[in-house]
Symmetry: C3
Subunit: 418 residues, 3 copies
């Protein structure tokens, strides 16, 4: 980063927000004020307070191929490097462990570049164009619709019948953030926050605002997503969100296991039904493997919290996701242990529903509505755990939530309404 960029950063530094008199806040992007910083770097050396580890936040711009112009913001908290993509709806590309080379959260998609939304045609390939850019650790599906493509039939706010062709997993993962800011808390634990605002809005359509915050603290092996979705329209608005979180090598492998306190589990289709007794263990890369999807209602603890843990075969490395079933009552497990070159991956996907077409989700009562001005919050904590002991502790948490309660195994896939 050159001096000009540092200077721009300095000029943009805003001290003294309303009510938080010493927060350090940098605005990297703001469409309303016509701000777009190209390069940005801010480190623990640039602040007055001391923290447990050296940390930095860096923005760079990708070049070449379909990634031309895509911005990546990396939070380095001293332990984890977290890559965030403001150009693609604040998705999280990958998280790397700095002390353990090769240990990361993420996967190897056949899509190698971070594809700029200008190159994505969601309508392509019968509504599957989303797959042209799919390679993130965590991509939000939503906000107006989040599931499978195909015709949705519904009743509008004015009482009319309407039809709309939906596209796979919705639009929000391919909308560039209109505002991006970096905030570092002045008080311990000095949380480092990258916050983006993504609008999914149109005339005669939804007016949904997503404020997406990815944050961590210096020296931590976890990071957090704090999202709010606001209905800025004047009428009730359906919405859906699925946190499509994807893991491949090195955590996923033959013998890896997914652990979550299952209240009920249902196969998404007849094919998945055949594998349901082994839903929690993974095969190695298998060419021709056909995806198996399981629909889970998890148990929660007394506060409504639950978690899912993906542990490797040796049980000495694991990823965890912790969230509230009050916010996200459903969990989809997507097993896609295909060949490495096809994308050997599993999805652990807490959501407001399952990834059926919205028509199906609505039928089953899993499409929430937001009243005008209403806000919904979603908090998910992601961890990367190293060592038998740390992993065992996380697994024990799953068992503690289950508290001996049994899983109901439903062997037949849900009926699909006409």
């Amino acid at each position: 980063m050159n001096r000009v960029c540092l200077l721009i950063g300095a000029l943009l530094m805003v001290v003294c927000q309303l009510g938080c008199s010493s927060t350090t806040q940098y605005v990297l992007t703001d469409a309303q004020s016509n701000i777009q910083v190209r390069h940005f770097r801010f480190t623990s050396d640039n602040v007055a307070f001391k923290s447990d580890a050296h940390w930095s936040v860096t923005q760079r711009v990708l070049k070449g191929g379909k990634q031309e112009g895509v911005r990546i913001i990396t939070i380095d908290n001293g332990v984890l490097e977290i890559d965030i993509i403001p150009t693609r709806g604040m998705n999280v590309l990958e998280v790397r462990h700095k002390q353990h080379k090769g240990l990361r959260l993420g996967w190897n998609s056949p899509v190698k570049e971070v594809v700029h939304p200008a190159f994505i045609d969601l309508e392509g390939r019968g509504g599957l164009g989303w797959l042209d850019g799919f390679n993130e650790l965590m991509v939000r599906c939503g906000l107006e619709f989040a599931g499978h493509p195909g015709l949705d039939k519904f009743t509008t706010n004015t009482g009319d019948s309407a039809e709309m062709e939906l596209t796979l997993h919705g639009k929000v993962g391919n909308i560039p953030a209109s505002r991006v800011e970096v905030i570092v808390d002045p008080s311990p634990p000095h949380r480092i926050r990258v916050r983006g605002v993504v609008y999914e809005r149109m005339f005669y359509g939804p007016k949904l605002k997503l404020v997406a915050e990815i944050s961590t603290t210096p020296g931590s092996d976890t990071f957090r997503i704090d999202d709010t979705i606001t209905n800025q329209g004047p009428s009730d608005q359906e919405f859906q969100i699925i946190y499509h979180t994807n893991f491949g090598n090195p955590l996923l492998g033959k013998g890896a296991k997914i652990l979550t306190p299952v209240k009920s589990i249902t196969p998404m289709n007849a094919h998945a039904s055949k594998g349901i007794d082994h839903y929690d263990t993974y095969a190695g890369p298998t060419n021709g493997f056909i995806e198996e999807v399981y629909l889970i209602e998890p148990h929660a603890d007394k506060d409504g919290n639950t978690l899912a843990v993906l542990q490797n075969a040796d049980g000495d490395r694991a990823a965890s996701i912790t969230w509230s079933t009050k916010q996200l009552p459903y969990l989809t497990i997507w097993k896609n242990t295909a060949a490495v070159d096809d994308g050997y991956v599993t999805g652990i996907e807490p959501g407001t529903g399952y990834p059926f077409n919205r028509r199906v989700e609505r039928h089953y009562g899993r499409v929430p509505k937001l009243k005008p001005g209403a806000i919904r919050r979603f908090t998910l904590e992601f961890g990367l755990h190293v060592g038998q002991e740390a992993v065992a502790k996380k697994v024990a948490e799953v068992e503690a939530v289950a508290a001996g309660r049994k899983a109901e195994v439903i062997r037949e896939a849900p009926a699909i309404p006409e």
Copy 2:
């Protein structure tokens, strides 16, 4: 603007066009010569001649979100600030009155950014993708087709039957200008012109050239659109153009009125039929309001000129559009007095036809054809009128054109051919 840009501007200044030896002309964009000026500013201080008011023409580039890279040219004539979007087909974004804060021509769409065409998928949402970028004061619908989406069936130049899915309001509003120039007339009244060339052309498709000029004179409270459409193809070519001009706050409000010398008025559908007796008055923002569209053939004066006036409830602020019915025989009034957050707006839309699907328009004989090389001109004058007297004068003009002639009110919507 820095010196380099001034220098580039100076280098591009072309004195001595054919036949107008002292016109001041700057080329801001020219694809053929590979010219693209980023920042541009030119003011009354930069010319030798004196005019009635200080004026300027400025280009800036928008940043952030979906507006990244969009160019805006603002003509400030001392009284009005006129924002033009070369990146979006030379649409007019907004016009602000400098002396009366808050007085403007334009509206508050739920689409807040000026969306770059690379983020627009016209085919999206069953052909409604155009709505993802709709927020301008004036957007041209056209040129190959201008109305509702859906299947058109037609006969090609070679006599074959053909079918094509049309998309809402056509392509021209989302095509970046290939050439943009700023011209200031050296002789009084020193008209300031921003002229753009937009091509809607493809192989096995139309070869239509739009030269779109937005101009005004120093100190004036009006501005003018002078467009020419040329068929650069070797065969007869259908075309359509609708000047989709949209008004919201502050002119539109409960009790605002639209005045135009109606020769005949027809509701676009059964729903609009119910409101036809009040077609000329507006309700305040009404959540759940379903759009009402009226199809008008206006009377014209002996020269073929007509006008429409939108006056506010108090009758002390008004907008006017004046045009020739020889050029644009039809007028569509779009009443969409929905909730503010849904886009409280009315459209006053002179056109070569109405916004039915081209199939319907063709059936009713409202799709003109251009012979090879043929040119059609369209001139519209827009005014912003302040004070009871100025408004009353404009309303009197409407009455003068009507000259006591009665309006034929047709209460049934047109039949839609199969």
Copy 3:
């Protein structure tokens, strides 16, 4: 080009590739290393070795309209100037003869700008959106599918039945190269190579890698395409490629002729059948001309090589394409002698098949498959021949390949399977 660019060029110069210790290689684009050089110029003055002619390789970036941001690389070998478009899949835009002003390979499409893929919607107009950007001398059709739009029905690798709407001529011609390099051989004849890597890959889709090389030697009147297509997926992968090479003025004109050693010729439809006896001669520009397409299996010489020659009416100018029928067994001749403003053009299109929808091509056994990791090479040599003698020599080559073998003329178009 300024000093900074020269410096960047110098920094990127990589001497000593594996096994070719003195190759001069510049990387202009590399998505993996996040390299994107904006301006580039490298000439015979910058190398130690002497060659037969002054030569240069230059990259520039287009501006304005729909070509904003498109990169053009021009190889000037002293005799030919060859324009290559890395932003559009390494297509070849035009080739100009430096000594004969106006002599070129290429055509005048109604599409005048080199359209950036971000402005192309392949799904548009019922799958004909490709035509919005079609103006190149040579555009590759492919790689997953290469022919007409419409529904394809097929069996997936996992044995399921599937359907997919294809778009005209596939995606590869509208994908920006992920890596671009310029290589000049240190040993005579000092071949100058522009090599690009274009990926057509997606999740749940093909993983095809195209390495596209356009090269020539100093002082030559020919240039060469050396392509390799690799299946980077783990399963057998269908692919198609057609080298859609297009010629207009000045070679094409009334009385121009196409010469190729025809083994069999079939009209693509009933309309083309009517003109089959004159398939090899061209009419002048004819408004309303309906395209005629002929499907040819060419004879080859003992090494499998064949060629096609397009000579002008006077027989003193010609273009030739030489290739191997082992690589590209089929040749499509597309006669589109329409009006000049519609695009007066003929296509000479060696391919792995014909441009029917893939469904039809598969039915006739013309859709090859690549095994995992398998590579297919394609080499085509293009020449521009000046003078009666040079043209006659090329025509004699066609006759030598035919070696008196007769052409089988099939007068009925192939049956189209349901």
